[in-house]
């Protein structure tokens, strides 16, 4: 293939890969360079990239994607329990099951569009969440969540005579996937996911998805049956969600129903809008910012704040600590809400629109031959 990838796309992919792989280094000064959080950056990055294929390209706003995320987690844990502790079969199993699940829910939900579609997806996801808590307890282990135990059959592991001492942990070809190994495992999948999303967005199929978002009537009068296009996008993004859910189960082999709750579905919507709907990089950045806030701001407490503001005169410092303490710890949602409101009001295109504006200003004042980071003007 001569036109495998355009130069700009290739540069973007290489840059993205470099940024992701060096995260443990450049995030350390921000207090985020530890494996647990880095893994979450990767996992929710994948979730958001996939969600953007549906919401960003096709324009269908799903409020139920956490269901596929949860199904991915459950499927992966079952694979660990029944087959093997190796991560690869678990990932494949999870992606297939969540894809199948997305096919059914998507087929039903896509009978409607706009707000009715969103409500249908929300209803199906809440249904799945409640089922996981109640009727499906034999599969989901209800409130306790699905966990690995020493007595799990693991038929494939048993067949090759592999056995574990202590708590079972997911592996990759015998290597345990904890800590930085887990991060690089997830990072590999994020880069692959990003690459695949790039290919989709740059294909004729991707152009059809964007056209559906732009003018569905014209698509139909142009000879396209729009429903299979939207359904494909739905299933692909459901598989991405399943992949992300499976990775969460790899790094922390416990699946609980709360992963399917509507707040989790809403979170991926926030990530995508915060970063920039319809852009490739935006949703990933949105996911990183939200997960950063969640983990860093919520860990701050009055002691840390007192130390931080200690340079201020006494008395005044106490007031500042009192005010800022409302925005951290349990109050981190307040900060996230404010940031979200400010971004949506001033940058409706999300953080990526901010980046584009800065780039445009820089190009105007910089040399005329300055390198362009922008895509097609019509994008």
């Amino acid at each position: 293939m001569t036109n495998f990838m355009s130069r700009n796309d290739l540069l973007l992919l290489v840059g993205f890969t470099a940024v992701v792989l060096t995260m443990p280094i450049w995030l350390t000064p921000f207090g985020a360079g530890y494996p647990d959080l880095l893994q979450r950056f990767m996992i929710f990055g994948i979730f958001a990239v996939g969600f953007n294929i549906l919401f960003g390209l096709t324009g269908y706003l799903s409020f139920g994607h956490a269901a596929f995320f949860g199904v991915g987690s459950y499927a992966a844990v079952w694979s660990f329990k029944l087959l093997t502790l190796d991560a690869i079969p678990a990932m494949i199993f999870a992606v297939l099951i969540s894809g199948l699940f997305a096919l059914i829910i998507g087929f039903l939900s896509l009978r409607r569009s706009g707000i009715y579609f969103s409500i249908l997806t929300l209803a199906f996801a809440q249904m799945s969440y409640n089922l996981a808590y109640s009727v499906l307890t034999p599969i989901t282990n209800g409130e306790t969540g699905l966990q690995l135990t020493l007595s799990d059959p693991r038929v494939l592991d048993a067949a090759i005579g592999q056995s574990f001492v202590g708590q079972p942990v997911p592996t990759l070809l015998g290597q345990q996937l904890g800590g930085y190994a887990g991060f690089y495992f997830c990072a590999g999948f994020l880069i692959l996911s990003f690459f695949f999303a790039q290919r989709v967005a740059g294909s004729p199929f991707g152009m059809m998805l964007k056209s559906i978002k732009s003018n569905q009537t014209r698509m139909q009068f142009t000879g396209f049956n729009t429903r299979p296009y939207a359904l494909s996008a739905f299933v692909i993004s459901g598989m991405y969600a399943g992949l992300a859910g499976a990775l969460l189960a790899v790094t922390d082999p416990l699946a609980g129903a709360e992963r399917m709750q509507w707040t989790a579905s809403g979170e991926v919507v926030l990530m995508t809008i915060l970063g920039g709907v319809g852009t490739l990089v935006g949703p990933v950045i949105g996911a990183w910012i939200i997960k950063y806030f969640e983990n860093i701001l919520s860990a701050l407490n009055d002691n840390i704040l007192t130390q931080f503001w200690s340079f201020l005169p006494e008395g005044f410092a106490e007031i500042v600590v009192k005010v800022t303490s409302k925005f951290v710890g349990d109050g981190w949602h307040l900060t996230l809400g404010l940031v979200f409101v400010i971004i949506v009001i001033f940058l409706p295109g999300g953080i990526m629109e901010g980046v584009r504006r800065i780039a445009a200003v820089a190009r105007r004042s910089g040399p005329p031959g300055a390198k362009s980071h922008q895509h097609q003007p019509a994008e």
């Binding site: 293939m1 001569t2 036109n3 495998f4 990838m5 355009s6 290919r199 989709v200 740059g202 294909s203 004729p204 199929f205 991707g206 152009m207 059809m208 964007k210 056209s211 978002k213 732009s214 003018n215 009537t217 014209r218 698509m219 139909q220 009068f221 142009t222 000879g223 396209f224 049956n225 729009t226 299979p228 296009y229 494909s232 097609q376 003007p377 019509a378």
Partner: protein, 254 residues
Amino acid sequence: MANSNIVLHVADVHKRFGGLHALADIDLQVEEGKTHAIIGPNGAGKSTLLNVIIGKLAPSSGQVVFDGAVLTGRKPYQINQLGIARVFQTPEIFSDLSVLHNVMIPAFAKRDGTFTLNMLRALDSETTIREEAEHMLEDVGMLNRRDMQAGSLSRGDKRRMELAMCLIQHPRLLLLDEPTAGMSRHDTNTTIELLQKIKSRGMTKVIIEHDMHVVFSLADKISVLAQGRIIADGSPDEVRGNPKVQEAYLGGAH
């Protein structure tokens, strides 16, 4: 009349909206390769008739037959795949996409059909379709705007682009709903020239138009619609001289 060269036959169509009889007893035969104009005062049912033909509205009774295939009951995309394209009264375009992509998309529908899962193919490698779209844009005089966002075009350019989007599919039947509405005299004349140019390609056209200058420059045959009924049918000269038409439409309009 020999039936063989009738490509579109609107047979005995009625359309009621509640108590309103929007179309009554419409019988319309369009000959292959001809330009058939439908004129009539506002509210005569012209757009309703077009919507019935294209499958956007279902007739209350009667049917529409295109080249032996019954259109009634088919979905808009199926009707398009039979070789019918439509220009809307208000341009229906992909505002967020570039002009070039707007014109490429219908070419994909023509080549690949109603659905193709070609997500691992690079759009950049579709050189044939891109070149085809560029030729089409050149034909309508818009090649210099190929990279512009379609939503930012002028109204006249949007229409010309929409026409290009239809023509790239080489439809057998082209439906035009007031293709020059809201255009300047200059843009109208360019559009007439363009439509005359494609006339030689043997494409059948059904055109709804208010502008008599456009109608008499293009039409081979004219049907006059008033209050949901066809009150006259014939060549431009016959229609011009028909006293019923003078009364219902031409007289009233001037």
